[in-house]
Amino acid sequence: MPIDPQLNVDEVIITTMARQLSGEMLVSSVTAFGSLAAHLAKRRYAPDLAVLSTPESGMDVTPMPTLTLGQFLTDVQQGIPLTMEDIFDAIFTDHFRIWINPSQIDQYGNTNITCIGDWYRPKVALVGARGIPEDTSHLSETFYYILNHSPRAVVARVDFKSGAGNGESRHGLDSHGAPSVLVTDLGVFDFTGPDGTMAVRSLHPGVTVEEVQQRTGFPVYVPGGEIPLTELPSPEDVRIIRDADPLEVRKLELMSGPEAAEKFVAIYERERQALHATYPRVGKFGR
C-alpha cells in the first residue's frame, strides 16, 4: 500500500473517481466503487448527476452498495424506473457516465474484459464485452479504474479489444468514446501522450514514477514539469463514503481468496438487516 497509511486506498480512489464526474448525466455502475463514486460526486461535486441505484434503473435515489446490484433499493426508495432502452439511448446521446473496471487496459486505452490469450482458444475466458463497445464508440468521456496496478493489468497491448482506445482503434470512429481517465492505486492517468497514449496526470502520495513504470507493462509517458500529487479526500468525502457503505462492500473488490470469501459471507448476512434498518418500507410487496 503506497499511500499514507492514515488514508485508505479505496477512499482515495473513490474520491478521485467522484471528482471526474460532472454535468447532468445518468451515472450507472455495476461495482461498489462506481456506485460510491457516483454517490459522493452527487453530494459534493456534481449536484446535477442523475445517479442510478442499479446498473439500469432507480434514477435519483441514493445508491447503496449491495451484493445484488441494488435492485431492492430501487423499490424501497422509489426513484424513477428506467429501461435498458433508456440506458442505451442515454449512452448514444452522451447523457451517461460509468466507471469501468477492465481486466486489462493498454497504452492506447483499449480495454479487455473478454479473455486472456487468443479469443478462439483463450487461456482464460472472462465475461464478454458487455456494453463496453457502446461506451467506447459514443461517450464523450470514458472512465476506467484498476485497483491493482500491475504489468498484467496495465499492458502494452490488450489480448482482446472489448473497448476501443486511441490509435488505430479510432479509425471509423469519431472522438466520442476515446479513453479519458484511468484511476489506479498508484495515480491518475490520461491519454494525452504521443498518439493518444497513456500519460501520468498525478500520483498518489508516496508513489514514484519509477514504481509506476515498474508496475506497468510499457513505458508510461511522463509529461515535463513536476508531477502533481493526487488531491486527497477531505474528511467530509471520507465520511460520506463510510456512511454510504457501512457494510464495506467496497473492500471486497480489494480482496481475494479466503479473506474475500469470509468478508463476502459476513456482508451477505448483514445486508438484509442493514436494508431494513435504513429503509423500513423494505418488504412491502412481500407475501
Binding site: T83, T114, P122, A125, V127, K161, F285, G286
Partner: protein, 287 residues
C-alpha cells in the same frame, strides 16, 4: 385464453436445435425453474441467446444441452466467473458468438421490426467486430462512412420470469426489466413463469409495470421462487450462498454430479424442499 401450463409442458415445446432467448440479467430474475427443467431434459444443441447471462447459461452448458451461445456477457458478477462457460470457451466444446449488450438488443429489435439488420457504430474499433461471424461492416448509404450491420436475431422460444402474470399471459415486472420485453416480442413462442398468478383485473392496476403483453405469450407457469438462485426484486434477493455452493460444486466432477442430483434432476417442488422449503427461503432471502 387460459395459457397456464406446467414446467414440463413448456420444456416439451422446446425443440432440440432451437434458438432460445433467455431474459433476466446475470444474477437477476433469470427463469431458473424453466432453465433447470430444460437442463435436465434430453434436448440437444440448443442455441442460446442471452444479453447478460449468468447461472442460466452456465447450468445449460454444465448439463450438456447447448450447441451455441450468443452472448454479451456471461458471469456471476461479484461472485466471479461462470465455471462451465469458462471451461467450454477454453476447450471450445461448443460454438460461441460474442455480441454486446446493445447489439443483442438491436438484433432482437430487428427481428421485431422484421428488418434484416440494424445499424450501429458499436463494436467499430473493437475485436468483437473481428471475431463475431454475424456482423457485417457496411457503408452508410448517405455518407459512405463505415457502420456495423447487426443481423436480426429470431428466437424460436423466449423464456422469462416475472413477478406477476395473469392466465392470459400478461406479465408484470417490478424490478429492472432487462431485455425481457425484447425477448418476448422477438420470439416465435414466449413462455413465462411468474411468482404469482393474479386476476386480469388485479394485474391492470400495475399500469406501465405490465410489461409483457398477452399477444406475445404462449404459456404461463406459476412457479414461486422460479428465479432462484437468482434474485427477483422486490420479492427476494439473489441467493449468493447457493451460488457459492454452485461454484464450489462446479470445480470437480464429483461435486457437480452431487449438485445435479440434488438441484437439477429434481422437479421444482423437490428443488425447493432441498433448500429447506419455502419457509427457510423466506427467512433467508426475503428482503
Amino acid at each position: 385464453m387460459d395459457k397456464r401450463m406446467s414446467i414440463d409442458e413448456v420444456v416439451d415445446r422446446i425443440p432440440s436445435g432451437g434458438l432460445i432467448a433467455i431474459g433476466g440479467s446475470s444474477i437477476s430474475r433469470k427463469p431458473m425453474a424453466l432453465v433447470r427443467a430444460l437442463a435436465r431434459s434430453d434436448k440437444r444443441d440448443l442455441r442460446i441467446i442471452v444479453d447478460v447471462g449468468g447461472p442460466d447459461v452456465d447450468l445449460l452448458l454444465g448439463t450438456g444441452r447447448v450447441g451455441e451461445v450468443i452472448y454479451a456477457f456471461v458471469g456471476f458478477e461479484v461472485l466471479g466467473l461462470a465455471p462451465h462457460f469458462r471451461r467450454a470457451r477454453q476447450s471450445q466444446t461448443v460454438r460461441f458468438q460474442e455480441w454486446t449488450e446493445y447489439t443483442v438488443m438491436a438484433g432482437l429489435d430487428a427481428a421485431i421490426k422484421r428488418v434484416p439488420f440494424m445499424p450501429t457504430h458499436a463494436t467499430l474499433g473493437t475485436d468483437v467486430l473481428r471475431v463475431n461471424p454475424s456482423f457485417k461492416e457496411i457503408r452508410d448509404p448517405f455518407t459512405e462512412q463505415p457502420i456495423v450491420a447487426v443481423p436480426a436475431l429470431k428466437p424460436d422460444v423466449a423464456l422469462i420470469h416475472v413477478n406477476y402474470a395473469d392466465i392470459q399471459g400478461n406479465g408484470v415486472i417490478l424490478g429492472d426489466g432487462h431485455v425481457d420485453v425484447l425477448c418476448a416480442k422477438a420470439a416465435k413462442d414466449t413462455y413465462m413463469s411468474c411468482e404469482r398468478l393474479l386476476s386480469s383485473e388485479e394485474l391492470q392496476r400495475f399500469g406501465r409495470d405490465v410489461q409483457i403483453l398477452r399477444v406475445y405469450s404462449r404459456g404461463v407457469v406459476e412457479a414461486p421462487w422460479g428465479a432462484h438462485p437468482t434474485g427477483c426484486a422486490p420479492d427476494y434477493r439473489t441467493d449468493v450462498r447457493h451460488l457459492q455452493d454452485y461454484l464450489r460444486a462446479s470445480a470437480s466432477e464429483e461435486g457437480w454430479h452431487q449438485y445435479e442430483s440434488e438441484f437439477v434432476t429434481v422437479d421444482h417442488r423437490q428443488y425447493l424442499e432441498n433448500h429447506g422449503g419455502a419457509e427457510e427461503l423466506v427467512s433467508r432471502l426475503k428482503v
